[in-house]
């Protein structure tokens, strides 16, 4: 599915919908109530991020004052500038960015060839493996973190290589969450490419690797972008693994760094915590704002392609 077809789908559906509406007045009332309730739901959805911004713009004095909490009387950017110049916060940000980018690369290197093989090269056990990949996606991280913790501790005892409390341990952990889903949706995308395309390429003497890199990856690019966005957001948002596996301040990623050190550091300096949370939420939000169609395509592909 390409981006343009995603964009054009709603308009086609809606134009048909308008015809089925029946009497004009009914339709207008339905529309009015739709807008009315959607406003309520959107208000509910946007309230916490909005409140983050409101609190983030306040000084600690104003936060603890008994004034209207929903309004900023003396807006200031000091919380944001303080955070962006604080070495600790920048370390969190840097760790998060490095981990997320590397996880995306690792995920793509593993899942794209695997999805290609599973959707095009029937070999012994490939059907079982494809189902297995999907089932792995269902295994929650809350089931695995304790045995993994013990495994890495044992690994250190055997080899002397310390993994616990190092940010790079996350590079081993996050792919267990991202790879199964990305492989699964890439199988769907590759499956929608006409067979004639790769048959023609193979007939012309292309190797399997060439077929993948020259034909499949360019054709399935929207799917790859959707999978990349998914892997990035998962890696950026993950909370349990870094909380369990990293403890030193210089090894923390944003999600855990904000939730643990900022709260402990000050006597509930909520202005700064909210500013930090907003800055931490910014990268996924920016990606979402610019690539919404890919984001939603990736989200819905998991179930609809299954």
């Amino acid at each position: 599915m390409t981006a343009s077809s995603i964009a054009s789908a709603p308009s086609a559906a809606a134009s048909l919908d308008a015809d089925t509406g029946g009497v004009g007045g009914d339709r207008r009332w339905a529309l009015f109530w739709s807008y009315f309730f959607l406003c309520i739901f959107a208000g509910f959805a946007l309230m916490p991020p909005l409140y983050m911004l409101i609190t983030g713009l306040k000084t600690s004095n104003e936060v603890s004052a008994a004034t209207n909490p929903w309004w900023v009387y003396h807006p200031t950017l000091s919380n944001f500038t303080e955070l962006l110049t604080s070495p600790l916060f920048l370390t969190f940000f840097k760790n998060s960015a490095i981990v997320a980018v590397l996880v995306v690369i690792i995920t793509m290197l593993i899942s794209v060839p695997a999805a290609f093989a599973l959707s095009r090269m029937k070999f012994w056990g490939s059907g079982v493996l494809a189902t297995g990949v999907f089932l792995t996606y269902l295994v929650p991280e809350t089931l695995l973190f304790i045995p993994l913790f013990k495994m890495f501790a044992t690994f250190r005892d055997w080899t002397g290589i310390e993994l616990i409390n190092r940010w790079y341990v996350l590079l081993l952990l996050y792919p267990t969450l991202t790879v199964p889903f990305c492989t699964w949706i890439m199988i769907g995308y590759f499956g929608s490419i006409p067979k004639e395309l790769d048959e023609a390429a193979l007939m012309d003497g292309a190797t399997w690797t060439q077929t993948l890199t020259r034909i499949f990856i360019p054709v399935a690019l929207p799917g790859i972008i959707a999978a990349t966005i998914f892997a990035f957001t998962v890696a950026w948002a993950q909370f349990l693994y870094p909380l369990a596996f990293t403890t030193s301040q210089d090894q923390l990623v944003l999600s855990v760094g904000i939730a643990t050190t900022l709260i402990k550091a000050d006597v509930f300096n909520w202005g700064q915590i909210m500013a930090g949370a907003l800055l931490g939420a910014a990268p996924p939000l920016v990606i979402y704002a610019f690539l919404m169609d890919y984001y939603i395509a990736g989200l819905t592909a998991g179930a609809t392609k299954g």
Binding site: P10, S15, Y35, A45, P48, Y51, V133, L144, I273, L299
Partner: protein, 311 residues
């Protein structure tokens, strides 16, 4: 059929330059396929399958992990009141949150579907925001909204002379709060799935129904719901698993409190296993998430097989 033909012709081409047997082996379909999937297989085997089995082994050890004690960890859990509280709370939390998410998602998807196409994108974009923000960070905002002395909700409620509500202080309210935050976070996912499903229902069906004079409820019951059945089932199953295994929201909002009353399996396992240092007991607790996983897996596998037969 065509694949066999392709392989034959490829083999003929390979024959011509007289490649060595080793190179030929590396160009075979099954070999290449295996090599392409090898990293995936290794990842799943080492970091998912092995730890899953390993946790069963861990659950049979004593606290110092020196001795095999069979099922004693489980029998110990069964005697503890907290354990039964966690079981109850996990079920209440997951079931009520999923039902509410599905219901709200369904309603909002219908409302958004009513809108003209140009506006729909904008609304969809706004409504999905809760799903995009990392839950660990958005829960911090909720924690601050629920703050015992500075709660912005209580400030609003005070205007109409209600409250103050102990959002995270009292057991009932804390249970309500974690469900509320989970619904806020998860409902947009349902909304987006249902909206996609609604768009795939052929408009002709509604036209025919309108000609036959079907009411709104009849259209909902006889067209929309049957057409969306698959999506509703799979989304609910997904969400049930994810909600049952939820960690972030409960951990940040209440950390299991007050007095362990809002713990779910994941947060309690973390408290016992990582913070308390009793890895075997923590592993035993998280193993209780297996049954629901298995049930969900069976349902989903059946669904996949059914689709396979249809195709």
């Amino acid at each position: 059929m065509s694949q066999i033909a392709v392989r034959d012709s490829a083999a003929v081409r390979i024959e011509a330059p007289r490649r060595s047997p080793v190179r030929e082996f590396f160009h075979q379909r099954s070999t290449v396929g295996f090599l392409f999937t090898l990293p995936l297989i290794v990842l799943i085997a080492v970091l998912v399958l092995y730890p899953a089995l390993y946790s069963i082994y861990l659950a049979t050890l004593n606290k110092k992990m020196t001795q095999f004690i069979g099922l004693s960890n489980f029998t110990f859990l069964f005697t503890r009141e907290t354990f039964w509280m966690v079981v109850k709370q996990s079920c209440i939390f997951a079931v009520s949150a999923v039902i509410l998410k599905a219901l709200i998602g369904f309603i909002v998807a219908h409302l958004a579907h009513n809108l003209p196409a140009e506006g729909q994108r904008k609304w969809r974009g706004m409504l999905l925001v809760p799903w995009v923000i990392p839950p660990a960070l958005s829960t911090l905002a909720w924690l601050w909204l629920f703050d015992p002395s500075y709660s912005a909700f209580n400030w609003l409620l005070a205007i109409i002379d209600v409250g103050p509500v102990p959002w995270t202080g009292n057991a009932m309210w804390a249970r309500f709060s974690v469900i509320l935050v989970n619904v806020w976070y998860g409902a947009p996912f349902f909304m987006i799935m249902y909206l996609a499903a609604l768009k795939s229902v052929p408009a002709e069906l509604y036209e025919v129904a309108a000609i036959d004079g079907a009411t709104f409820w009849q259209r909902l019951w006889y067209i929309t719901l049957p057409m969306m059945r698959n999506i509703i089932a799979i989304t609910t199953l997904f969400s049930l698993i994810v909600t049952f295994a939820n960690f972030d929201i409960v951990r940040i909002l209440t950390a299991g409190g007050p007095i362990d009353l809002t713990h779910v399996f994941a947060t309690w396992a973390f408290k016992i296993g990582i913070e308390g240092g009793d890895i075997p007991l923590g592993a035993s607790i998280s193993l209780f998430m297996f049954p629901i996983l298995t049930v969900a897996a069976i349902f989903i596998l059946r669904d996949i097989n059914k689709r396979g037969e249809r195709i």
